[in-house]
């Protein structure tokens, strides 16, 4: 790519110098952060670039799967941090992300919509996993606060003979709803308010606008499906942790649960 000679990259770095100048002029005191931030971005992206180059050269399918799995586990870990108070958050998040991502990516591959080449699978997989992670965090966070807030309501339902699932029904519904709304909103506004980065990238790389749009649509549908599956799985896995097999709500603050949490975080380390 002629556009991106290293020479050009060095010249582009002058842009950061202008930002440093602005910071100095306005006494914002951000010079150091700007400097280190720009170096960090450089290093991270270069590492990523060479890593991708390496992965793209591994033509074997199982390496692709392995890469995707690693992405899922890492984002599962990130997401679990948002789910403090949910026992087994790491396993739940990772499981949900893996299921959501593989179903939607799997459908695309199975129907032959995208090829199983690293240059498709890796970036798409990254997007899917990233969005699933976001959905998983939202779900984990929401389900525990829903159950907590609806404690009375849930115990009333249980006392009337509801199963844990029936008693948690409203909490589950609210959780899935709140976790899906961001992606529905972004589906509705795509092209109106923002041009997605990926589409801009395709246009820059010389694809025709219609080609770019088609691809973008596939991506939007794929992400929406991944997000919905992930948040459904995560909330269904997570709510169970708050109930015993005898349909008893385990109080979030009770010693039982915090012990379990303690044990889990230890075993994770």
């Amino acid at each position: 790519m002629e556009l991106m000679e290293y020479q050009g990259l060095v010249l582009a770095y002058f842009l950061i110098l202008t930002a440093i100048f602005v910071s100095m002029h306005q006494k914002a005191g951000l010079e150091k952060q700007l400097f280190y931030g720009s170096i960090r971005a450089f290093v991270q992206l270069m590492v990523m670039g060479y890593l991708l180059l390496f992965i793209f050269n591994l033509k074997e399918f199982h390496y692709l799967i392995l890469t995707l799995l690693i992405m899922a586990v890492v984002s599962g870990q990130m997401s679990a941090k948002r789910g403090e108070g949910v026992p087994d958050a790491f396993r739940i998040a990772t499981g949900g992300i893996i299921i959501g991502s593989s179903v939607s990516l799997g459908i695309l591959v199975a129907f032959g919509i995208i090829e199983t080449e690293p240059r498709f699978i890796i970036p798409l997989g990254g997007m899917i996993v990233g969005n699933s992670m976001y959905a998983s965090s939202l779900s984990l966070n929401r389900i525990s606060s829903e159950l907590k807030a609806r404690r009375m309501e849930i115990e009333v339902a249980l006392s009337l003979g509801a199963t844990s699932r029936q008693a948690a029904d409203r909490s589950l519904r609210e959780t899935v709803k709140s976790a899906m709304i961001p992606s529905i909103d972004s589906m509705r506004t795509v092209g109106l308010i923002h041009l997605p980065g990926m589409m801009s990238g395709l246009l820059l790389a010389g694809a025709s606008p219609i080609e770019a749009v088609k691809f973008q649509l596939i991506v939007v549908y794929m992400l929406t499906s991944a997000v919905s599956i992930t948040c459904m799985c995560v909330s269904l896995f997570a709510y169970r942790k708050f109930f015993t097999k005898n349909h008893q709500l385990v109080f979030i603050s009770s010693p039982d649960l915090s012990n379990r949490k303690g044990r889990m975080s230890k075993s994770q380390k």
Binding site: E153, V156, S159, L160, G161, A162, Q166, R170, H247, Q248
Partner: protein, 244 residues
């Protein structure tokens, strides 16, 4: 008289001892009150009877069957519960009343005739049926939650301080309702109260618990007139509060 509920050496521990070796009997068709100072373990004991919580040791029998051997859903349908605060479920009054029956028979979810029957049974007006639960007074809400528990046709209803959010007039009316339901439906009622006068007004027999221990069990009037234990006397004279 048959024993409806037998409580046998029940202990509950959660870091600290909450219930210590409680045994008691509740007879079929009676109103039985559990009274005692705040924090003595009354709510805890009640929640063990329909297994909203798990006991540490001991046995509870319903109609002679160990509740641990029963399906927990079946148990809860046979043992209704009225909580301290009414806690109506989001939605209309009739949806609240029909929640229990609707869990097992979808067609009953909109059976307003059924809902109306229970609404009238607890002395509420027909026009409340379609109202949003939140728009009711606390006393009305508590009646709805009694109707909601009754709609499962339980043999026993557990009530945890059902009048603590009400003023005296409303309290007396609910007490009347409790006695009437007990008489008309032959439903056994276990009522928790920290108020000895309420225990006397509504219940045939009572048990006093203090610090998780049973102090005395017997006919409520006898306990009041001739307390066998010193702690009972203390509680009656109002010198036993906040023991924890």
């Amino acid at each position: 008289m048959d024993e409806k509920i037998i409580i046998e050496n029940v202990c509950q521990e959660k870091g600290v001892k909450i219930l210590d070796n409680i045994s008691a009997k509740v007879y079929d068709g009676e109103i039985f009150s559990i009274f005692g100072p705040s924090g003595s373990g009354k709510t805890t004991l009640l929640r063990l009877i329909n297994r909203l919580d798990e006991k540490t040791s001991g046995h509870i029998y319903l109609d002679g069957v160990d509740i641990d051997e029963m399906d927990v859903i079946t148990l809860r349908r046979r043992v209704g519960m009225v909580f301290q605060l009414p806690a109506l479920l989001p939605g209309k009054v009739y949806q609240n009343i029909l929640f229990g029956p609707g869990l097992f028979d979808r067609s009953k979810r909109d059976d307003t005739a059924l809902a109306l029957r229970y609404l009238k049974l607890v002395g509420l007006d027909e026009e409340l049926l379609d109202r949003d639960g939140e728009t009711l007074s606390v006393g009305q809400q508590q009646r709805v939650s009694i109707a909601r528990a009754l709609a499962n046709e339980p043999g026993v209803i557990l009530m945890d301080e059902p009048t603590s959010a009400l003023d005296l007039t409303a309290t007396l009316k609910i007490e009347e309702l409790i006695k009437r339901l007990n008489r008309e439906l032959k439903v056994t009622i276990v009522i928790v109260t920290h108020n000895i006068e309420q225990a006397v007004r509504v219940s045939d027999r009572s048990m006093l618990i203090v610090r998780g221990r049973k102090i005395e069990e017997g006919k409520t009037k006898d306990m009041l007139k001739n307390p066998k234990e010193e702690l009972t006397e203390e509680f009656i004279s109002g010198h036993l509060e906040e023991v924890r």
